[in-house]
Every structure is written in C-alpha cells, then in structure tokens.
C-alpha cells in the first residue's frame, strides 16, 4: 500500500464523497434519513466516532500489531460507538429511540474503517484529524442532503422537532409515526424511496462532478464510469 494509494483514497467532500461517490456506510444514511433532525443527530454521532477513533489510532499506531490491526480498529470504533450509544441514551432518549439499531451500527461504517486503515494508521494525529474532518464533512453533507429532501417531500417540513436535538428533551415531543405517514407523500418515508432518492442524488452528484471535471480538464476523472461501453456501428463494415 503506497502513499499514492492513500492520497487517492483519502476522502473529501466533493470528488471523493464517501457516500455519494464511494458508496460507503450507506445503511445508516438510508435508514435514518426520514427526517432532518434524525439525520443531524446521526451525523453528529458519526462525526464523534470518526474523529475520536482516528485520533486514537494515529496516536497508538506504533503500538498496533500490523497483522491483527483490523481487529484493533474494529474494537476501537466499537468502544467509541458504545460511548455514543450510552451518551445518547442518557441525553437524547427520544432521538435514540428513533434511530434504533442504527446507532450501534456506526461501528460497522465501512468509511470509518477505511479511513483508519488508509489515513490514520499512516499519519500523525494532526494530519489524520484534518482528514477525518474532511471525511465527516462529506458524510454529513450527504446525510443532510438526503434527509432534508426526504423530510421535505414526505412532510413538507424542514427540521421539524428540532428541539429534540437539545440535550434532555422531553419524550412528549417525539414524532409519532402515524402522524408522519398521513402527511404529504408518505411513500418517501419508506425504504425503497430512500434507495431511489439516493440513486438520483448519486446521479446528480455524478453529473455535477463531470461538469466540474470538464471545466478543469487537468483534474483526474473520479466519476464512476460505465463498466463497459457499447460498441455499435462496427457492424456496418464488411466482414
């Protein structure tokens, strides 16, 4: 694994967005993004885990055995996830209940693991902190984009029940699901809609990126290309 590899695979916001370009850590993004409030809560939790674990790994990197490092990474992430889990349960119980099993699932976020493997493990804490910041910014951007569009379409609102984000919010403010379903276009709250909307978001991101690329021809093409190109027109030629 050369340093070039790390440079290529360090995650950014636009060209190297972990969710929209590399399609990593999708499960929380898809499942949680019903409302913007949930999305923001999830984003904060993820950022916490990313930053803490990168810091931890970059400080401990000399101590970590290379062949079993994967297990150590997982355990470090799991520790911080447990911390987030317990913290949220304590301070933000309504949101914690909404997010359900997806808070523990932060620890299986593939983007975090790759970040640890390719960035934090090879850099000192300053560098890895900066790159973790870029990764989290990209992740948050995708989460916020998807969840705001879903909330807007499903309920016609934006950041409803924002007070839940404040610590110690009362349970009574929680959104009841039946209420949400009777609103504007309830289909968007379902899982298929999440997948389809994310598909459109990815497509939009692709075309945005291609436009940016075409304006800067020197930049490297990072849009996911078609696997194969259609070849037609050759047939007209005589055999």
């Amino acid at each position: 694994m050369s340093t070039e590899y790390h440079r290529e695979h360090s995650f950014g916001i636009l060209k190297e967005n972990p969710v929209l370009v590399h399609l990593l850590g999708l499960s929380p993004v898809l499942a949680i993004s019903t409302t913007l409030t949930n999305g923001i809560a999830m984003a904060i939790a993820t950022v916490f885990v990313v930053v803490c674990s990168s810091l931890c790994v970059s400080l401990l990197r000399t101590q970590i055995n290379s062949s079993w490092r994967f297990l150590y990474f997982m355990l470090i992430i799991a520790c911080f996830t447990t911390a987030v889990d317990i913290l949220m349960q304590w301070t933000h119980f309504p949101i914690y209940r909404e997010l359900g099993i997806y808070v523990p699932l932060i620890c299986c976020n593939f983007a975090i693991l790759i970040n640890l493997e390719t960035v934090a493990y090879h850099n000192d804490w300053k560098n890895s902190l900066g790159k973790a910041g870029r990764l989290s910014a990209g992740y948050c951007l995708a989460l916020i984009l998807l969840s705001s569009s879903r909330e807007l379409l499903a309920n016609g609102t934006l950041l409803e029940h924002w007070e839940l984000l404040l610590p110690g919010a009362s349970d009574s403010a929680a959104v009841s699901e039946t209420e949400a379903l009777n609103n504007l276009f309830s289909f968007v709250a379902y899982q298929p809609a999440a997948l389809i909307l994310l598909g459109f978001l990815v497509a939009a991101w692709n075309s945005l990126n291609t436009q940016l690329m075409s304006s800067k021809p020197a930049a490297k093409q990072s849009v996911i290309p078609a696997k194969r190109e259609r070849v037609t027109g050759k047939v007209g030629a005589k055999t």
Partner: protein, 549 residues
C-alpha cells in the same frame, strides 16, 4: 394444423417404394417462404459454350491448385489444366476446348470478395474432347482401384460450403463407415438445383450413391430428402426398386440440410461438437457431388460442370442450367433474359446463407448452386436495426441451441469470455435468428464480427501465453542453476576467507599443515564437483521437460 398435414403427407409417402422412415426431429428451425416453384417449371438445360471461361484455381476450402498450362496453350475438353498440390486441393480440367489466353487474378465468388488466380480460356466453340475414354465397369474394380478415380475427378462438395471430396474420402477411408447419407435436403429458399437433378436423373444419382457406398465400404446408403419435394421423391422411389438405397423423409424446415441436422434426422443421434461425421461412422455427401462421382466413374468424365439454379424476379425465364465451371455469371443471366432495371442485388447461394456478388463477371464455381438476380421486392433494403426486446424468437429458431440475444449483448460489449461460454463458435451462421428477428438486427453479422475479433485476440493471447511459458521456463532454469551453484558457492566462502586470513595471522607450523590439508581437500572437493557437474547436464533438460508438462 401443421401436425395433421404432416401426418397425412407421411401416410401417403410411406406407401411409396423405398421410403424407409420418417426422420427424427431436430431442434430449432424456421419455415421461410421458399420461392422455389418458378425455377422448377422447366427442365434442366445445357448452356451454349460461352466465348470466355475463367476457371478459378481455388474453388473449394483448402489450398489452391497449381496450373499446369500456360498462356497460349491450346487445351481440349477434359484436359487437365491444374494439378492438386495436396489433399485439400483439386485437379482441374478444361470445361471446353480453346486457347489459354492468360492466367491472372479476377474477382470470384467468395465472402471476402477477394481476387483469385484464374485460368482464362478463349473457347473455340468446337468443344473437342481429349480422347474418347471408354466407360469403366465399376463393379469390376476393387476398392483400391476405385478410390483414385474418384479422387482425381476434381470434385468438391456441391452443397455450397465446397469441402474437397478427396479430403473427405480420405478421412472416411481411415475410419469404419457404416452409413452413407446422400444429402438431398435443399432447405434454403430459391435453390432447386438438387431437386431438378433428382427429378430428371434419379437413376444416375442412385448409381452414384452405390458407387460411393462401395468405395467407402458402407453397409447402408440413405438418401435424405424433404417432404415437400414430392416429384423428386417419386422419381427416386421409381428408380430405387432394384437397389438397396433407402429414402428418409425430412421435415420441411430450414436448416434441415445442415450436416449435423441431417445426421441427427437420419440416425436420431446428435453428433458431438468436436467430432466429424466420420467419427460416428457416417459419410455425408451432397447429391450434386454424388452425381459428379457417377459421371467420373461410370462415364469416365471429370467434373467440368454443375447444375445451377438461375432465379429471381429480375430474370424472365428462371430455370436450372447445367453450367460449365468458369462460365461468367453475367453470361448465364443474359441467357435467362435479365431485366436490368429490376435487378437490385445478385446473390450466390440461397437467400439465407448466400453471398452477395457485386461483380457479375465472376465465374460459376463448383459450389455455386444458385444464382439469384433479385428485385428490390425480393431483397428490400435493410431496415435500420431496432432495439432487441428479448422476444426469444431467435432462441427458438436456433438449430444449435444458442441464446442469440445474449450473444448479441455480449458481442456488443465485446465480452470474449461470455461469448465463448455462450457457444459463439457453435454458431453455424445459418441466419435463422436474423430471419425471425422482429427488430431486424443483423445478428449473424454481429457474430461473424465477434468471431473474427476473437480469432485475432486468440492469436495475440497465444503469443503472449507463449512468452509467459517461456519466461516461466527461464525462471525455472535459473532456479535450477542456482540450486546447483549453491554447493559451490557454499564451499567457496569457507575456503576463500581462510586464504585471505593468511597474511594477517602469524605463521605457525600447525597452521601450515592445516593449510596444506585444506588445500588438498579443496582440490578433492573440486574434482568431485567437476565429476558431479559432468554427470548432471542431462538433468536440467529433464527438469525443463517436466516444467513444460
């Protein structure tokens, strides 16, 4: 409906003499419009001698023959003008008397429209024959005497593919052949040459079949013919009465006359893809070739003509001709009264597997069974290709059990692995898939294209694989050498430092004795090494051999 009609027809056919059985069914197939009746109205006609003949030196699959005449020579009818160079080439005989004007390249009928070397003969119209040769009583000949007669008659398969007969006889004579199948199934639209031949010369065809059967020592002889050719079947069953030849009736579909299809229809068994008919004990021969064999043996006349169908809406009187090899196509068209305004496309062979001919000055060859001067109504301009809707009509029609629509998508994406897995090379290019395709996709064209590309990439692959193998061998050899060198290098470091240590250490008697002893043992060890290495040279070669296997 079709089933009932067939059953009725079958019961009628069974009553005829010699009709042995109704054939087994084969997979796939289509029933296109046949356009056959027009050219069957009149009898086979001999053509007048054309002013020029141009005889291609290669009329078959295989290698070209070598001309044994030169420009200016006068040749007589049946005189040999080219010699076979190997078993896949043919002797060629002059179709008529005249003077060889030149030997040079000219367009001939082949898919690539390549130019080929032709012998040009300016005929003198006298049609002088070489010398009257008496007909041989073939029954009196032994098999060994008969085979060269057939081989030297210069016959190639007249079904369209043009496989050289000598080669085929050679393959068959090496194996145990139990059945000779005479392929009279002429499933492609427009072609009627075989049907006309059987209708008018069934006696000769059956005698030819008997000659061939005797020559290859086959127990059975079967003529496979389609149900729709009632007149030909009737003629055959009339003249079959005193012979052991049997008739098998095939279904009316395209491609019933394909090699493997006929074999399955007659024997009920599929021929494995990697096997020749001869491996299964079957020798398959086209009716036209069988007739040519009859001419060659019973009348002692080498092959100089063939029966060719001239048809198409642009011709006023379509009919079958007994055309001399080398007659220009345009000469034959003129004989039939061609309507040049109506003439849109010239196709040689049937409309499904034929070749489009751009230059009608090309000569008739042994494999040219049909010449179509088509009008625009018969061969309309190709409609632009529409997207494939995966209707599966092509898969139903495919006689090779392929999935043409899958092949198409892989052909477009140039996925060599998938193409091979889906059996691209089992495609016989019969065109049934293209015929039924509602999207008018030129499927066969795609496959030909892919086959060509794959063949190219296979060459590249082979060379690269060769390089890879050579590299591996090289590494292997280096490793072996190293292994052998190791003992030597292992001894050296032990000895050399001691030699270097000498000036540094102080002199002592004991040391000197030790040094001498070391030197002696060193020499001994070297000698041993020399002996060992003189014994060893055989080893690396052996090892290489292992590595290659």
């Amino acid at each position: 409906m079709r089933l009932f009609r067939n059953m009725f027809a079958n019961s009628k056919l069974r009553k005829m003499a010699g009709v042995q059985s109704i054939a087994h069914s084969t997979p796939g197939g289509i029933t296109p419009h046949l356009h056959k009746s027009r050219s069957l109205r009149s009898k086979i006609m001999a053509i007048p001698i054309p002013p020029h003949l141009l005889i291609p030196l290669q009329q078959q699959q295989g290698t070209a023959s070598a001309a044994c005449v030169k420009a200016g020579d006068r040749v007589l009818k049946y005189q040999k003008i080219a010699d076979a160079t190997d078993s896949t080439s043919l002797d060629i005989y002059a179709p008529s008397s005249g003077v060889v004007s030149m030997i040079q390249n000219h367009t001939t009928i082949n898919p690539a429209e390549k130019e080929q070397l032709c012998i040009f003969i300016d005929t003198d119209g006298k049609d002088e024959e070489l010398a009257e040769i008496d007909a041989i009583e073939w029954q009196t000949l032994t098999r060994e005497e008969l085979l060269p007669v057939i081989r030297n008659a210069g016959i190639c398969g007249m079904g369209g593919a043009g496989f050289p007969l000598p080669k085929k006889m050679e393959t068959s004579s090496n194996r145990e052949i139990h059945t000779l199948i005479v392929n009279a199934a002429e499933c492609e639209p427009f072609i009627t040459a075989d049907q006309a031949l059987i209708r008018e010369r069934s006696e000769a065809v059956i005698q030819g079949a008997e000659i061939l059967q005797y020559a290859i020592n086959a127990k059975h002889c079967v003529i496979a013919i389609e149900r729709s050719k009632g007149d030909a079947i009737a003629a055959l069953s009339k003249s079959i009465s005193h012979s052991s030849v049997e008739i098998v009736i095939l279904d009316d579909k395209y491609p019933a006359g394909g090699e493997r299809q006929v074999i399955q229809a007659v024997s009920g068994k599929e021929l494995q893809a990697n096997k020749l008919p001869a491996d299964a004990g079957i020798h398959l021969q086209n009716v036209g070739s069988v007739y040519a064999v009859y001419r060659a043996v019973a009348e002692s006349k080498p092959c100089i003509s063939r029966i060719t169908t001239l048809t198409g809406e642009a011709l006023q009187t379509p009919k079958n001709f007994e055309a001399l090899i080398g007659t220009p196509v345009s000469f034959l068209f003129d004989l039939c009264g061609i309507d040049k305004k109506n003439h849109a496309k010239t196709v040689v062979g049937g409309s499904l597997m034929g070749i489009e001919l751009m230059d009608t000055s090309a000569p008739v060859m042994q494999s040219s069974n049909c010449l179509i001067a088509g009008s625009l109504a018969e061969f309309p301009d190709t409609i632009p290709e529409q997207p494939c809707i995966r209707c599966g009509f092509c898969a139903e029609a495919c006689p090779a059990g392929l999935l043409p629509q899958q092949l198409l998508s892989y052909s477009r994406s140039e996925d060599a692995q998938q193409l091979e897995d889906h059996g691209l090379f089992d495609c016989i290019e019969c065109g049934a898939c293209s015929y039924v395709c509602p999207s008018k996709i030129p499927l066969v064209q795609y496959y030909r294209n892919s086959k060509e590309q794959l063949a190219l990439s296979q060459e590249v692959f082979d060379t690269s694989k060769g390089w890879q193998a050579r590299f591996q061998d090289h590494q292997y050899r280096i490793k072996k050498l190293k292994d052998e060198a190791e003992p030597r290098t292992a001894i050296k470091p032990a000895n050399i430092p001691s030699a270097e240590e000498k000036p540094q250490g102080t002199f002592s008697k004991d040391q000197a004795i030790l040094d001498v002893a070391a030197a002696v043992s060193r020499v001994k060890a070297r000698r041993k090494n020399v002996i060992a290495s003189s014994e060893s040279p055989a080893k690396p070669i052996q090892a290489d051999g292992e590595a290659e296997t």
